[in-house]
Symmetry: C2
Subunit: 525 residues, 2 copies
């Protein structure tokens, strides 16, 4: 394999000089909306009609894909090559939902079998909990869950839980209601405790290394709260961790489920990190459907033709807009309240993976990499930051997500129109408003337009499609890492803060400013 920087590919230089001067404002028409659309299976599609690209760009994208050996890199990853070089690790989160490449082993263990086996174990455990065969130390059936984790052990699982909670409630299929404790701020745990009946709550402690400071601190807070309530912490807690971690040896657990070093935190939602929670909350069958949806996208991502590979196409569009058009950020805008925390999860998946300036050989990169990612659900965002998106200084490419029908059954026909119809009318209108803009003699009412948008759409948000959405974005970020020639799977940028925090807590820093801040903040009282 030949790994080269983005600017070593001839197609990139051609793209730098291939610019749609007219923008998309005049180009966008009905035919383009039909043609610039890529099927994702399961009646989903990825539409890119409102992005500033033409057939010429798409041809160069295809060429760039070949030159950068993007699909070859994906195959290598699937086949167990060590794609996380700085940490000397394979990257195997795809294996948690299916096998797309060769069998991958580590120390003689087939890792697809390992992940599947763990899934079977927590499926069985979930069924026992649901049946009341495993009970709390107060003798109650467990009715509530609380995940204790931070970063990848929190954001993805939480976003997925929230995405399916209403759907399940409507059908009386919510098996256990979940809460989350992530922040080391003790007020986070305090807020969750007030909502939980501890005697009926099962805690899921998630830390791959078993050493995450925030998570261990919160676990200790939880144990104290359980003891204060006269309960036995060991009967109320399961761990999700690596087999060699200190947590794996912790006797104070009802059960342990395992992950390994080949599934990075932010890519771990489909492993036990998300699976234990989701299987307990919704049942193992629902989690299996989510995995199936993710696996379908993983397979689709193998397509050579970029116009039939939505994750790769999305990645190429993002790189083009970042590197050739110079846009610094992108907004994720789901027109679905169920996806309220999905942007926060994608913020981690994207910014922690590709917010780097070194290539895979540890050499400095001289082009922009990962953009800022932010977002809130529409229509809420329309009444908040859309003013800047429409008329602000910078162009911010928009990633819309929408569904034809709601999950719940609250929709009503009011004045002849349902809420869902209004929601989607807004979505259609926004895409076109951003693209076209508007001229006016008063500069206050001028909309420059030419603001690119993509749309992922499905008839309805189901567990399968939620898995598809998740995998789509994971794969998009992976492909962008390949294009930028960086390691998307490590996070060296979190180390310095950890080192200095330890110095502050240990009282062993010579840095006068650090001492002064610590004193001001009351760390040294």
């Amino acid at each position: 394999m030949k790994y080269q920087n983005l600017d070593q590919n001839p197609a990139y230089h051609s793209l730098l000089h291939t610019r749609l001067e007219a923008g998309i404002s005049t180009l966008l028409d009905a035919r383009r909306v039909e043609e610039y659309s890529c099927a994702m299976g399961d009646d989903m599609f990825f539409n890119y009609a409102a992005t500033p690209v033409t057939e010429r760009h798409l041809k160069l994208f295809q060429q760039l894909t070949r030159e950068a050996q993007v699909l070859e890199q994906y195959h290598a990853l699937l086949n167990g090559e060590m794609m996380n070089g700085s940490e000397q690790r394979m990257v195997l989160h795809h294996l948690t939902r299916g096998q797309c490449g060769a069998q991958v082993e580590h120390t003689g263990v087939d890792l697809h079998a390992f992940y599947s086996n763990e899934r079977e174990r927590y499926a069985t455990f979930a069924r026992q909990i649901h049946a009341g065969e495993i009970r709390s130390s107060a003798g109650h059936a467990f009715t509530h869950l609380c995940q204790i984790g931070i970063g990848g052990s929190d954001l993805g699982p939480r976003a997925l839980y929230l995405a399916l909670e209403q759907e399940a409630r409507k059908d009386n299929a919510l098996k256990m209601e979940a809460g989350f404790i992530s922040n080391v701020d003790p007020d986070d745990a305090a807020a969750v405790f007030t909502r939980l009946d501890l005697g009926r709550t099962l805690f899921i402690l998630v830390s791959k290394s078993g050493t995450t400071q925030e998570t261990l601190t919160n676990a200790a807070l939880v144990r104290t709260a359980l003891e204060d309530a006269g309960l036995d912490p060991a009967a109320h807690m399961v761990a999700v961790t690596g087999q060699g971690s200190p947590l794996a040896q912790d006797e104070r657990m009802l059960e342990r489920f395992y992950i390994d070093d080949f599934v990075g935190g932010r890519f771990s939602s489909t492993s036990a990190v998300g699976g234990v929670l989701l299987s307990l909350a919704f049942g193992p069958e629902v989690f299996a459907r989510l995995l199936e949806g993710a696996h379908q996208q993983d397979r689709l991502a193998l397509e050579d033709d970029i116009r039939a590979n939505p994750a790769l196409l999305d990645a190429l569009l993002g790189v083009y807009m970042r590197n050739c058009l110079g846009y610094c950020a992108t907004a994720v805008l789901p027109y679905s309240q169920a996806l309220s925390r999905f942007p926060a999860h994608l913020q981690q998946v994207d910014m922690e993976s590709n917010g780097k300036q070194a290539n895979r050989y540890g050499e400095e990169l001289h082009y922009p990499t990962g953009p800022i990612v932010f977002g809130e659900p529409g229509t809420n965002g329309q009444h908040s930051f859309y003013q800047l998106l429409h008329q602000g200084s910078d162009v911010i490419p928009l990633q819309f997500i929408g569904f034809s029908t709601p999950q719940g059954n609250a929709d009503r026909n009011i004045d002849g129109i349902t809420s869902q119809t209004k929601l989607n009318a807004n979505l259609a209108a926004q895409i076109v408003a951003f693209a076209r803009g508007q001229q006016d003699s008063d500069r206050n009412n001028v909309f420059p337009g030419r603001r690119p948008a993509t749309l992922i759409h499905a008839p309805r948000l189901t567990p399968t499609r939620l898995g598809a959405l998740l995998a789509h974005y994971e794969n998009k970020v992976m492909f962008q890492g390949f294009l930028w020639n960086l390691n998307s799977f490590d996070q060296p940028g979190v180390q310095l803060g950890k080192v200095l925090t330890a110095q502050v807590l240990g009282g062993d820093t010579e840095d006068g400013a650090l001492q002064a801040y610590a004193a001001k903040l009351g760390v040294w009282a």
Copy 2:
């Protein structure tokens, strides 16, 4: 008054050429941490030691303030001049919490008296509800609240409610628990209904114009749900609206509280828009303390000396980093779970106010204005997007907020260190890590440093200090609007989307792309 564009001020051009080449990495020391700190009253401070400015910059900031007549504009605003020119309106949100300038009248009414009188009315109403003197149509005392509003009628009130909820719970002082419905997505309302006992819930319907589509749609959903439960909607709902609005005439209300056109949505948290909710949830006395804290900052913002005026200084630093250093975004990072939605509120306050490219005369501006604003609470963000903040392509100035002690009582000493100590050790470490960076032979472990940060700190988050934080940022955004010479109080950028949405819903668009998107989204089934 002489309103001129930023680039018409000589000090701005001097600032363009005043750059700290060494950055802050070597400059930051203990003395600077002490000296570059601005008292905010009530034991709060605004620290800017880790920003790339020197005495020379501060002198030019002071000069720019004079040249741009920033404080004169603030006085004019306080005295009732029509500062929202495009909408032909005064800007009077400061009057909702106190009088800093002259008496302001409209059609013969003293507006400070008007806002105070409304506050008295909803304080009395809240006391009646708390005493059980006003009961639900099922005969129950009201125990729960639900605010129906979007944008400014949602984000600010919600952020403030969440900021005080735990504090109140701990002291058994939470008088009513609140939920929120904002999105027109019917799944949003459905999710809230599952948590509420409708027979004990009071709904607060908030729309200044009384015509907000999302809010009226959700009000209709709520009425239907109440009727389906055999309850009388009119006995379960109050309105917060303008006196001339259709809502003000709506008979189906238990009570109506009024706002007016001089308090913009995103600046309305201290009016009845936030006040009814917060007075009901926490008691009128708590809301009064919040107003007192806000008013103190409004007074502090009158200071001529920028080093004694934290909101103005914060504004100047932001403009310098946006326009002279070219940074496109800023992150708000509260090390406090209670402030979990405060960044989302500031996102609206900032991006909707200053995301504009026309000056107050309707002329195009040729310099960048409002930045992208995003954020999540630390330490959560550390495990998410901090990778990009530390090592990404773009420098993103950081706005930290911290407190010495938590609100709740869940804090425990674990391994000799409390959670709060860990939280603040992280905060101190991050500021220094961002500023200093780190050299290394492996580019993966290089931290470029020179990433600016400010810190607002207080011993503990109280209602008074929450009001101070709110007003600080409102005033900062206002001052930046003055510096950029734009109208921070209108939102022309939301109009085009509304127009196209109405076209889609009415089926009267000739735009082929819009028709195609609407069809794909199932609007026209």
